[in-house]
């Protein structure tokens, strides 16, 4: 019970501290923090509290922002559960994006099947991209952090090469538009939210959250993954296949991130894109997983939180608040969570010492 309590209390404290720091930065630089909170409110509810107007397009865009980072959050969280640090969600996402683009442009299939194929191909590609660091870790004991960082950049340049060389982009930035059969787009959902980019992507996202919860909490496989995360040697001694679990964990983590790539490419957008730099979905995923304490429900909620921050950025900018305040708040929250050992230590020292308690 105590563990569950701190799993909620600590992120909550970090979130509060992060927003407080963000407000402080705004005040220190002569900006009003109230406008930031109004922008966040408007991005979630669609209600402009100053003008008293309501526009559902904001709600749609908010969900669009939250979808991919929930998936990269699941990716990072799944690896965390096995004691692995997956900084490579960004690269796995891009591998998924390349695969989804390939299926969308090259494969001919009926509407439902085509988009399903694109999603599956993206998951397979992401899984493959995750399998490399997993296998290198299991076979050669090479640290996954460095390998996944390197794989991010390899994926970025592979993507940019593929857009031009494989998909024959005319302007070297965008591929040809995808056929409607390959896309998650829905005119009805878009019309419902006043022309937002909202699409069926939330279906696979919600399904992924349930699958994550089921694998981790309800299966023997998930239990053995967590056992490896808690104590590698202990798990090995208990007869669990540690190396196989490490590879599988990275494959599944990669598949979640790969799916995010498809949701962005055939959902939010309708063409493949060459990118000047990584877009930061992988880093967002780390923040989402840390705040969500690597649990499905936590990742869902923190995905909404950071989705709100991302969605509010354009609104903040129009109200004269530099939109980068969102990244500052996000980074502060991550930093505060990273400091948990020190912070809990300080809290314990300050708080009344209970008799018989271990320090």
């Amino acid at each position: 019970m105590a563990r569950r309590g701190s799993a909620i209390l600590l992120p909550a404290a970090a979130i509060l501290a992060g927003f407080a720091l963000g407000a402080l930065v705004l005040v220190a630089t002569g900006k009003g923090p109230l406008a930031m909170f109004q922008a966040m409110l408007q991005s979630v509810t669609g209600i402009n509290s100053q003008a008293g107007t309501f526009n559902p397009r904001y709600i749609g865009e908010f969900i669009v922002q939250a979808m991919p980072i929930m998936l990269t959050g699941l990716s990072v969280g799944f690896a965390f559960r096995t004691g692995l640090f997956n900084i490579g969600a960004e690269g796995q996402l891009m591998a998924g994006s390349i695969a989804a683009t390939a299926v969308a442009l090259w494969v001919k299939a009926p509407p439902g099947a085509h988009v399903a194929l694109a999603l599956l191909a993206a998951m397979a590609a992401g899984g493959l991209w995750g399998a490399v660091p997993g296998w290198l870790k299991a076979r050669f004991n090479v640290h996954e952090v460095v390998v996944t960082i390197m794989m991010n950049y390899i994926a970025l340049f592979l993507n940019n090469w593929a857009v031009v060389a494989l998909f024959q982009s005319a302007d070297r930035i965008k591929t040809a538009p995808f056929p409607a059969s390959a896309m998650l787009k829905s005119p009805a959902l878009s019309a419902l939210t006043h022309g937002s980019r909202l699409n069926w992507g939330f279906g696979p996202v919600l399904l992924s959250l349930v699958v994550y919860w089921f694998i981790i909490e309800k299966t023997a496989f998930g239990y053995s993954l967590r056992a490896v995360g808690f104590n590698k040697d202990g798990a090995e001694y208990a007869g669990m296949k540690v190396k196989r679990n490490i590879v599988l964990s990275m494959v599944i983590a990669g598949a979640f991130a790969g799916l995010a790539g498809a949701v962005i490419t055939v959902g939010t957008f309708s063409f493949g894109r060459a990118l000047p730099a990584a877009e930061g979905y992988g880093f967002d995923g780390i923040a989402v997983a840390l705040v969500g304490a690597n649990a499905a429900i936590g990742i869902f909620l923190s995905g909404l939180l950071f989705g709100m921050l991302k969605a509010a950025q354009t609104l903040m900018q129009t109200q004269g608040i530099p939109k980068e305040i969102a990244s500052i708040i996000q980074a502060s929250i991550v930093l505060f969570i990273a400091m948990k050992y020190g912070i809990t230590h300080v809290i314990r020292k300050l708080g009344p010492s209970r008799p018989g308690e271990e320090r």
Binding site: T29, F140, H143, E324, G342
Partner: protein, 314 residues
């Protein structure tokens, strides 16, 4: 041959910040603190350098003050990493990630406050190139090393030698390495592990700040979100590829710089014409993964890097 002669000075310009930042990483990791925040620290250093240069120009010393501001900003920013990792025993990779996110946010935020746009204003010269009198007229070598060279390139070479001397030949270096190999053993010999790790991270911050300032003032016209574009991670790759040794860092840095310069000139080189530019960009990362596999099983990197110091552990 003429292509090579035009390419090599460009390669040196690219290699300079990679080498300096990688030396920074060396100090941090040798003390036992993994620093994946090199990228973020470079961004902060690059922003500070560009901002100060823009404000002080046309003073001829503007670039110098800019570089100093970069060093100071890097040092200050890295103290966050040191405080989190050494004092509060934060996960070093998580803390580094937070710093990388924070750097992108805070630099562009300040650009908007100071310059009312997403980047700093453009500076006129940044750092001026110099030619060494006499030596510049040497046949081939003059054009490569002594004519129109940025002083920061010499600084990088000097820092390689200095780092080697400090890490390999001084008591400070020995203590630093001891903290990265076995902090508990080092502590038992009376070494203050916390202080040594602080020193390692702060030196890495100063150097990465210098690298960021150098990069922006020699390769760019202003600071923007994409000014550093992954060079901090190439520096991390350079550190690993160079086996955590100064001479190795120099070699790897030059090689990575050359691979970037080649990507620009490949269209003029018959053998390389067919290779897409993106593949040259990819090369450092692919090679580093390969190097990690080759090094695996041998103890190449600092053994205790990445672990929080726990005095009670044996």
């Amino acid at each position: 041959m003429t292509i090579l002669l035009t390419m090599l000075p460009i390669a040196l310009i690219y290699a300079t910040p990679i080498i300096i930042a990688a030396l920074g990483g060396l100090f941090s990791e040798r003390s036992g603190v993994v620093n994946i925040a090199l990228e973020g620290i470079m961004m902060v250093g690059g922003f500070a350098a560009a901002a100060v240069t823009v404000v002080l120009e046309p003073s001829p010393m503007a670039g110098c003050w800019g570089i100093l501001a970069g060093v100071a900003a890097g040092l200050l920013f890295s103290s966050l990493h040191a405080f989190a990792c050494v004092h509060l025993k934060a996960d070093q990779v998580v803390s580094g990630t937070a710093l990388n996110i924070l750097a992108g946010g805070i630099t562009v935020y300040l650009c908007q406050i100071f310059f009312d746009q997403q980047r700093t204003n453009a500076f006129a010269t940044g750092i001026a190139k110099l030619s060494v009198p006499g030596l510049a007229r040497l046949p081939v070598l003059g054009a490569l090393l002594f004519r129109d060279v940025y002083p920061t390139t010499y600084a990088a070479l000097l820092l390689v030698a200095l780092t080697w001397f400090v890490v390999a030949r001084t008591p400070f270096g020995l203590r630093l390495r001891a903290c990265g190999e076995h902090p508990q053993a080092a502590a038992s010999m009376g070494i203050d592990v916390v202080r040594m790790r602080y020193a390692g991270v702060l030196i890495s911050g100063a150097l990465a700040g210098l690298a960021g300032g150098t990069m922006v003032l020699t390769q760019d016209i202003q600071y923007s979100l994409t000014s550093v574009h992954g060079t901090g991670f190439i520096a991390l790759a350079c550190l690993i590829f160079g086996k955590w040794k100064p001479a190795g860092v120099l070699g790897a840095g030059l090689f990575f710089g050359l691979s970037q310069a080649t990507s620009i000139y490949a269209k003029d080189i018959p053998l390389l014409q067919a290779v897409p530019q993106d593949f040259f960009y990819m090369l450092p990362y692919v090679l580093t993964v390969a190097a990690l596999v080759v090094f695996s099983g041998r103890s190449v990197g600092p053994r205790a890097a990445g672990e929080a110091y726990d005095p009670g552990k044996r």
